[in-house]
Symmetry: C2
């Protein structure tokens, strides 16, 4: 039976979705849910690693756009949503010990520790919504596929134990759409911003667009399409996995932190 208190009536879609996730009523990915609201990648690290990872994110803001930073041991992120509790508000988490995945859970209360620092990171969903609203077609969405991602030959700026290659996502576009996409995503520096590359894949170490480094079907390149490459949130994931921190929690792919921020609020113009 739906909650009908005045408070519940005032809930907006992001709060309602988080409530459903928290109660177990929504247990799958968050793609397409609470449209208009910012969804975030999540990395949670012990304080021992937090300063280095924070530095890494600040030095590599294109792949690692921080939306906030949690206080050590504090699972709340009031600037992203008054009632957010990171221990229960994502539908899926991955638990890593020394770089090895040891568990997948829908609640991390039992794993929470006093030294954990949370890092919510902007995600391409936000700029993809802006592109679609502007009429820029996104083929992977039209065909219900994952966006194509590749490891480049571009080094991230290292920080302490964190270092690795930049991962990019690629969206094939007609030239006019590519130009428009550059204009639109430039307005969203907190969700990867403008593309980091267009055209020649081999210039950034991608020999064959058909071969994705993390699996997935070859992207759909039509005649006169230009490949447009954005820095990708997979970058901090592979960098963190390679660092093999003593302990780490991340979201499961597509099982994001849904925030109260609107995507349009991330636009600088």
């Amino acid at each position: 039976m739906p909650d009908s208190t005045p408070l519940a009536a005032a809930e907006h879609p992001a709060q309602a979705l988080r409530r459903a996730i928290r109660s177990g009523d929504h247990a799958t990915h968050t793609s397409g849910q609470a449209p208009g609201y910012v969804q975030a990648n999540l990395a949670i690290l012990p304080a021992d690693y937090a300063r280095e990872f924070l530095t890494f994110c600040q030095l590599n803001a294109r792949p690692c756009p921080l939306l906030a930073v949690g206080d050590a041991g504090n699972p709340f992120l009031p600037t992203l949503g008054e009632d957010i509790d990171l221990r229960s508000d994502l539908p899926g988490y991955r638990i890593f010990v020394e770089g090895e995945e040891v568990d997948r859970v829908s609640d991390i209360t039992s794993y929470w520790r006093d030294d954990l620092v949370s890092f919510p990171l902007g995600c391409s969903y936000s700029f993809e919504e802006a592109l679609l609203q502007d009429g820029v077609p996104l083929k992977h969405i039209q065909h219900g596929e994952r966006v194509a991602t590749y490891v480049t030959n571009i080094d991230t700026v290292p920080a302490g134990r964190f270092h690795g290659k930049l991962v990019v996502s690629m969206r094939p576009m007609k030239a006019a759409d590519a130009i428009r996409a550059i204009q639109i995503t430039t307005r969203f520096p907190n969700v990867h911003g403008a593309p980091i590359h267009i055209g020649h894949p081999e210039a950034i170490g991608i020999d064959d667009l058909a071969y994705q480094h993390f699996g997935g079907a070859p992207p759909r390149m039509d005649e006169h399409d230009i490949p447009v490459f954005w820095a990708c949130g997979v970058t901090p994931q592979i960098v963190t996995e390679a660092t093999k921190p003593s302990f780490c929690i991340t979201h499961q792919a597509g099982h994001m932190l849904v925030t109260d921020l609107r995507n349009s609020q991330l636009s600088t113009l």
Copy 2:
């Protein structure tokens, strides 16, 4: 002997350059002169053609960005410079009768008529200055060459007797510079604005970049360069020539109207 009145001392570089042109002391092109100030293409047409040409410019603002419109018979353009007299302030003019060039002169006082309407049009010099100031290399400038220009298969929007294909200028760039150039030129809608095409030349009817439709050496394309195409001010020139108006005056190539506007004032951001 230099003029040393207080008024002359207050002149800024654009005014000083116009004074030198007016007096015959500066009789060549204006490229690189009065840096920072907007230089404009110029078309002058009889009132009989003016409304149609004005409409053409408004419908095709990317190739034909109007900076002002003169009153019929009035050779002054106070919004572009208090003292501008279009009859004497450009170093070179071309006179056309029925589409045929009949004269090249450095003063059009004897050709001026009560029905002439002037159309100063923004020029790529303004955005090229912004690109160079931002560190985006422009190879044609580095090598002292003219920018490469091509007739595309893209129709302009016709207006009355004015119609024709879009002409573009092309600048080869590395991908990161092309992305930055799109961001910078987007701020300058009154001087052609963002590129209209990137990548595949054949997608806009250019079969071979080495062959320029108006002559000129093949552009310098290096490995991984992307061709970046902007709408070009040659478009209104060829459209006007094809229309063969009863009478027409234009600037000579590179012999521009130097205005008191600063290039930075054309930036929308």
